[in-house]
């Protein structure tokens, strides 16, 4: 029986999707050790404790609320110190967080502070005696490594979308905690947040991604990709490395080995040949659609549904058909 501590990530005092996925993973781990508790720590500005009920629905026995005006932006130093302090204050088997922009930054800090082994970007966690055994996609998803982290306490970051959030109602008893290090002492300070566009769905969270490559021929033609994404309604827009290198799209939109690695329900590859570098970022998508004029393009080897044709003709027709299909529901 062992307790598990979770860092439940929020933005603007709302839980991110990955937070519930990590709580679900923690619930399973705590249950597997014979019925330990899940403690979820949230850090935000005044009122962030309002997420406690939702964390309880997904299996948090205790919610540790850390509120500070300076937590409006991500205070990596103070939050890492606070997670580590909480982890030290009681006996925990593991500290879990998402392998998100925040979690991938916090994990190694917390592990170093606790002198605990860390496993990053894992898709499965099992408890095995004194060890945690995890699966971790390595070599840019081309190899799946099974790793063993030994010791009484380990830090584990969980790949977004690898775990499906599942309800498991618990009490979510709220405790408050002060930041373990004064945010005014943090040396890395956020000066500005450059927004990526209003209402933009993040690539890591979108159930559908429409992605464009060089086959679109120009930056202007990316409008076709955006229009198709808009027709689906719940889709994000991605791009290949060639396209981001050419400045057609920002680097943050890049899907591939050196960019984002995504696993949406549906991935629509528009004018993408399917270089290994790109496939490494999207081959775990549930369903893949490819539209490309070259029938020999490698993308067709992984596409569940391929259409050979000119993207400038096929994509607008598909956009129209998707709109009609949506309207007929």
């Amino acid at each position: 029986m062992a307790n598990v501590l979770v860092f439940a990530e929020t933005r603007a005092n709302a839980l991110r999707k990955v937070a519930l996925e990590v709580v679900t993973a923690a619930r399973a781990l705590a249950d597997a050790t014979g019925g330990g508790e899940v403690h979820a720590l949230v850090a935000g500005t005044s009122g962030v404790g309002g997420v406690a009920q939702q964390l309880g629905q997904y299996g948090a026995d205790v919610v540790v609320v850390v509120e500070h005006p300076s937590y409006a932006n991500f205070d990596r130093e103070s939050v890492a110190a606070t997670i580590a302090a909480r982890a030290k204050s009681a006996s925990y088997r593991a500290v879990l967080m998402g392998f998100s922009a925040q979690g991938r930054d916090l994990g190694p800090r917390v592990a170093a502070k606790l002198d605990a082994p860390i496993a990053s970007d894992v898709t499965e966690i099992q408890s095995s005696g004194d060890s945690l055994v995890v699966k971790h996609p390595a070599y840019a998803n081309k190899v799946i490594a099974t790793l063993e982290a030994t010791g009484p306490l380990a830090v584990v970051s969980v790949r977004p979308s690898a775990v499906t959030a599942a309800q498991a109602a618990r009490a979510a008893k709220t405790e408050t905690m002060q930041p373990a290090s004064d945010p005014s002492q943090s040396r890395v300070v956020v000066k500005e947040i450059a927004e990526g566009g209003k209402g933009k769905i993040d690539l890591g969270e979108a159930p559908i991604i429409v992605s464009g490559g060089r086959g679109l021929k120009s930056a202007e033609n990316f409008k076709l990709v955006e229009d198709l994404a808009a027709a689906f309604g719940n889709a994000a827009v991605g791009a290949t490395r060639a396209v981001t290198d050419d400045g057609w799209r920002p680097h943050s939109d890049q899907i591939g080995q050196t960019g984002r690695q995504v696993s949406p329900q549906l991935y629509v590859a528009v004018g993408i040949s399917g270089a290994i570098q790109h496939l490494a970022g999207m081959r775990t998508s549930k369903t893949i659609v490819a539209i490309n004029k070259d029938k020999e393009a490698p993308i067709f080897k992984v596409a569940d549904y391929g259409i050979v044709g000119d993207v400038l003709e096929v994509v607008p027709a598909l956009t129209q058909a998707v709109k009609e299909a949506k309207a007929s529901h």
Binding site: D115, T146, V188, I193, G196, H251, L266, G306, G309
Partner: protein, 258 residues
Amino acid sequence: MKIAVCIKRTPDSESRFKIGSSGASIDEAGLKFDIDDFASYAIEVALQLNEKQGPSASHQGTPGETVVIAVGPDLVQETLRKAMSMGADRAVQLKADTIPYDGLAVAKALAAELKSGGYDLVLFGKHAFDTSNGVVGTATAELLGIPCVTAATKLEISNGRGVARRELEGAAEIVEFPLPAAVTIDEGIARPRYPSLKNIMAAKKKPLETKPAQLGDVRVTVKKMELPPDRPPGRIIGEGVAAVPELVRLLQTEAKIL
């Protein structure tokens, strides 16, 4: 500025991988190895900063210096030479028979080397292609007690302070921090230069020091490696606009996503 760049030797990321006979590693036969992509961006950033900045603010009168450091067996010497052929001034090999999967153990070895080095800036790739952990840079900074910015896509240094851009999900943050500091480098920040023949020759004479790596306890180990399951073979459902209705039908009835 005195800049350290911690680099790793990794296989060419475009390779097709096979699992080795132990079942717990890849088969390295026939693979090409080089400086890890993200580490090569970090080297380029360091070289550009020193070319632009000249003498160090904290080391008045001394020229900038770029030192490359790698943990690993003697094979990493080739990687360190390559970095020096790009323009790094000297290199340190922290010798270990193998590079453990445990990022914190590697960080301990690097921190032991860096702590008395008087570096203004320590750069890393945001992660290495092979282990894909993203632990070493941040954990090293934490052990050294210096500020750290992870996955920077822009970095400017002036008057003893740094400003970096870091991509978030759907946004980016601009952060400021004092030196000395550590920064892990993301893609898109700089294209690594190709070494000139002259610099390749010069690199052979640059100092490369070898010391034992003071790795901490290795507590993360590989039990097994396997290739991911293959996707079912691809299927072309038709050509041109005429295939669109069939695609929509399949998305509705088979994939059930529409």
